[in-house]
Each structure stands twice: as C-alpha cells, then as structure tokens.
Symmetry: C2
Subunit: 339 residues, 2 copies
C-alpha cells in the first residue's frame, strides 16, 4: 500500500466555466477507518454534470461544497480494511466518496457491487445513478408509451443513451440530439434510435425536428436546455410530457440566461413540464437496477463508457462533460482490482 | 322587435395591441332561424382574454377568426323564436353566439339557464366558463390542499377571484396579485384572501411574495405570465404545481417575448407546470356548475361583475381587459329581459 493518498479539493468557486484552477490536488497520509467504517481504494470515479451546481455558493437541492473541502462523487472501490463496517477486504462497493485514491466511509453509506453481474464500472453508469435517472425519468416522468414520439437531449450521454433505449423498449419513436456525427451514428447504429440530430451541424433545430419527428413530440426528456429545448417546446403535441432532468447548457452561465417565454405554448398543448431528482425514487431503486441489469444481460440496453485514466486527470474528465467530449458514461479510472 | 340587427365583425387582424379599428359594427336584418334553430336576443355578452388569440392568423387551440367574420363569444340571451330548437320563447339560454343584438343558433348549441338559481349574467361568469375554469384549474391542475400556499395572478378577475376562493375553501393560504389598491381591498376584504399584492405599486415582486407567502409557494394559478411569474418561479416549494391558465400580459406582444429561463429551477423544486383548457374537463362541467352554485348560494363564493352598457361599447369592454379595468367578470349588457 502506498503511504500517501491524493485528494482533489475545491480550490475556489468558479465564476462561469470552471477550469483546472477550480481544483487542487493534495497529498497526505492514507486515512484510518474509524469504528463502523471501511477504508476503500478507488477503482472508478464518476464525474457528472450535477456536480457543477455544488460548486456554487447558492442554495440548491444539494448542499454546496465548501471551498477547501474534498470534492465528492460516485465511486466504485475495493474494501482494503473494514473496522466493523460489515464488509470484507476485497469486497467491491459503491458510495458517494471523495475524489481520492483512498477514502473512508461508514459501512452504512456503502453498497455491495456484484462483480459477476457486469463490469463493476457499470455501478456508476447504466446500473447506477445515471441508469436509474433514465429509468424513472423516462417511465414515470416523461411517461412514455407505445406510439409516442420521444425526444431526448444529451442523447449520447450516460443518462440520455439509456433513456432513449428504454423509450424504444416502450414502443416509442425515439429521436436524440447529440453533438457530433460520431455520436449520431452511435445512436442510430448501436442504440437503435430512429433518428439522431447533430445539433452542432444545424442552426434550425425546429426544421431538423420536423424531419425527425414529423408527428410532433409526445414526450421530451431534457438533459440540456437552451435553444434545442426552445425548438422542442414549439413541437409539443397535446398532452405532451416534458421531463426536466438536467440543463447542462446553462450550468456555466454567469447571469441568469434568457430565452423565449414558453408558458403560452403550454396552454395550447396542455403539456406538463416536470422537474425531478432521482433521489425522490429511492424506495424503487432496487426495481430499477434489477430491470436495467436484465436489459443489459439480454442486450436490450447497450452502454458505452468513456474512461479517463488517472485520478490526476479527473478535472479534465469533468470539464469535458461541458464540451460534450464523452460518449456514454464518463469515468475516471483510478485503480485496478486486486487479482 | 327592431327591424335591424347590429353585429361586430373582425375588421382586420391586430398587430400587437388591438384597438377600435380591429372591430367593425354592421347593421342588417334580424336573421330568421332555420330548422332546428332558435333566434336569440342577446342580454349579456362575455368578453374574455382568450379572444385575443383568435384574432391572430396563426394556429392555436381555437380556430382563428376570419377577417370580415362576426366575432363570437359567450352570450346569455332570451329565446325570441324557436324553429324546432327545443326551446320556448322567453326561455333564457346561453351559448357561443355572435357579438350581436340577435343571433340564430342550433338548439343543440344552446343551454338552458335557470333564472331562479342566480342572476342570469352569472352563466357567463361564476357559474359559467370562468367559474369552471377556476374550479378545475385550482382543484385538478394546481391540486391545492389544506396547508398549501396558493398564489394566483389576475386575482381580481373573473377566473382568479373564483380560483382564490376555491383554494381558500380547500384550506390554503391564498395570495393574489392584482393591479390596484381597490382590487387588493376587494381580495382581502370581500373575498377573504390572506394577502393581496398590488403589482403596479411594487417593482420587486419577489420581495412582496416573501412577505405575503413567507413559506414559499405550493400551488400557483397563473392567468398573467411575464415578470410576476418569473418571481413566483423563484419561490416554488418542493413538488409545487403550476397551473397555466392564461398569459394575458403576453397576448399583445408582437414578437415572442423573452424572459429568464425557468427550467433549471424546476429541477431543484421538482415542480410540475401544466397548461390546461377548460374544454378538456367537459364531461365534468355539470359537477362544477352544481358545486359553484352551492357555494354562491351559501355565500362561500362571492362574485363581482363589471358591466359595460350597450353592444356598441363591446370593443371597449374587451380592450379594457388588457388594461385591467374590470373587477370580477367583465360583461356587456346588450338587452333587458322581457318582463
């Protein structure tokens, strides 16, 4: 075991776009697990768009991170030492841990990962928070059903790629917005989407939608917001549902972004727009994970991961989310499982 | 019976704000009812904000009115002659008729009004479309319940005044935005609202809300839109519901109005925003009218009417809606009932 442990801290609050100076890598001793705690060695670290919000001082659904505190996120790791935490050394676990080589956590905050079910990294993606977010957002909030036209933004990302496939399994026509021809090919060829739209190759999102979704939009799963969403709102069918999952295009805005007012369009369409947090579905997490695991095993749901090597590169992996650099789930690989 | 019949036509499509030139008063013979039709003499004519939308060429939930065609709206009238329409002369009826002294209509498009239940004008207000809109919007869409804070815009208007009282009957704290001190007094003293806000006397709607709704907003009934709505969206509680009934502040806009983007706030609050049209509740209209009549009879729901005298002044009554000139339901009195 190395004697030191690297940890990323929030070095300052970003104004607008974060950059490498937002992060500070420190080095100290590997911590000792207290009573009821385990020491976990990080295998994979998850970087997710919602983390941008926690870097702000303002109130949000999550407590803001304090400047100088370690960053935290979803981690899959291996238990090194258990101090009455209810795990054995070698167990693979997941939890919300520090961006670090090693971290301690209460046993009650860790969940066992079954390495025989799927690669352990999927506990941060298709079988983890992003997969569950897609599951509940698509089925419960967007309430998709057979015959619907379902549109999703950030379609090639960790959440969008799963959302679109779940909508497809429900019998919907599925249209995804993504930011490159490569991603569009991934949607159409690998994931079975009916149409992908490369939003970076068109200015006229409404016209692109008219082609890809000629019967209008019944269910919209929004991860991105902004001008694409403006266009989708002009194409909502009567009784359409909009699930507001994320608004990544707006997270780095320094002032409150403006856009066309959308409420008048809701009267005509009688549409419902609903924001949601996956935490609110916690009592049903097991159902979602089981269903997703079945679909992954049967090949009905395909996933892809973009893996950045090395804890030291975690900030770049995070910043890349806002540039659309990832296809599927963006992970940081920090360590290897012991053989 | 007079030999001529005055009728208002749409003389041209307004660009932005309509004015008197939008309307043309013509005079022709009193029409004859065809088979299955009745001739109805207008007693009261309803002017409503939704009519502005029908003056536009664009698609909407209602067919646009054609230039040169008669304007239409809710009318309460007296049957003069029935040609197998199923009514007797002297019957009081309501229907969607022309802005005219007299109009013919199929018997199937007319509904009997019981003059013993309440003044017949209420068939266009608290016991008519505005009352039903308030009933379903408050109970079904905004889904108000005891302990909620309920906020309504256009609170002194035909819909808002009833919506607030229904919310109050449900046990909510009720806050209304209206456009004068007189209206605020009406809300607080006559209707039993917990607080009224004169939006013309403050620039800081959010601060006014913090005072009137210190526990945030659980249910929002929006008739107005624009900057008041922007402020309310910053005060939505977790799982808040927004019923989008109207957006009168935007109806005369010549270009698509812009404002702060609101979807990010919906994630944090997990709020639901839903547009609705009262027509969608048609199977339950009788329930609503019965319930409203009970509340009016018991004094639980109070109503007020602003009555403009004379068909010739109907355009002014309509235009006044956008200036907030009415308290309660704006009507045009066209004729007297036969003694």
């Amino acid at each position: 075991m190395p004697e030191t442990n690297r940890t990323y801290l929030l070095s300052k609050r970003p104004e607008g776009k974060p950059d490498r100076d937002t992060f500070e890598l420190t080095e100290e001793e590997v911590p000792q697990p207290g009573p009821g705690e385990a020491l976990v060695r990080t295998l994979y670290l998850s970087v997710d768009p919602y983390m941008r919000d926690r870097m702000n001082a303002g109130e949000s659904y999550a407590e803001p991170w304090a400047v100088g505190d370690p960053l935290r996120g979803g981690v899959v790791g291996e238990v090194v030492e258990s101090n009455g935490a209810g795990f054995e050394p070698g167990d693979v676990v997941t939890g919300n841990l520090q961006w670090a080589d090693y971290a301690t956590a209460a046993g009650t905050d860790l969940h066992q990962v079954d390495p025989d079910l799927a690669p352990v990294s999927t506990a941060l993606g298709v079988l983890g928070m992003p997969g569950r977010t897609a599951y509940f957002g698509t089925r419960e909030v967007a309430d998709v059903s057979a015959g619907d036209t379902f549109v999703v933004t950030g379609a090639a990302g960790a959440v969008g790629s799963v959302a679109g496939q779940i909508a497809k399994l429900s019998g919907a026509r599925v249209v995804g917005f993504a930011g490159s021809d490569e991603k569009v090919a991934f949607l159409e060829d690998d994931l079975g989407f009916d149409a992908g739209i490369n939003y970076k190759a068109t200015d006229d999102y409404a016209a692109a939608l008219d082609e890809a979704a000629p019967n209008g939009v019944d269910a919209y799963y929004d991860n991105v917001g902004g001008e694409i969403t403006d266009a989708v709102f002009t194409r909502l069918n009567v009784d359409a549902r909009v699930a507001v999952c994320g608004q990544i295009s707006l997270y780095n805005a320094e002032e409150i972004p403006t856009g066309p007012r959308k409420l008048p369009a809701l009267i005509e369409s009688r549409a419902t727009v609903e924001g949601f947090l996956v935490q609110d579905f916690m009592p049903r997490f097991e159902e979602a994970t089981r269903k997703l695991a079945e679909w992954v095993a049967s090949g009905d749901v395909t996933y892809r991961e973009t893996v950045t090597e090395g804890l030291e590169n975690a900030p770049d992996a995070f910043l890349g989310l806002f540039e659309g650099e990832n296809v599927g789930k963006q992970l940081v690989k920090v360590g290897e499982r012991d053989a």
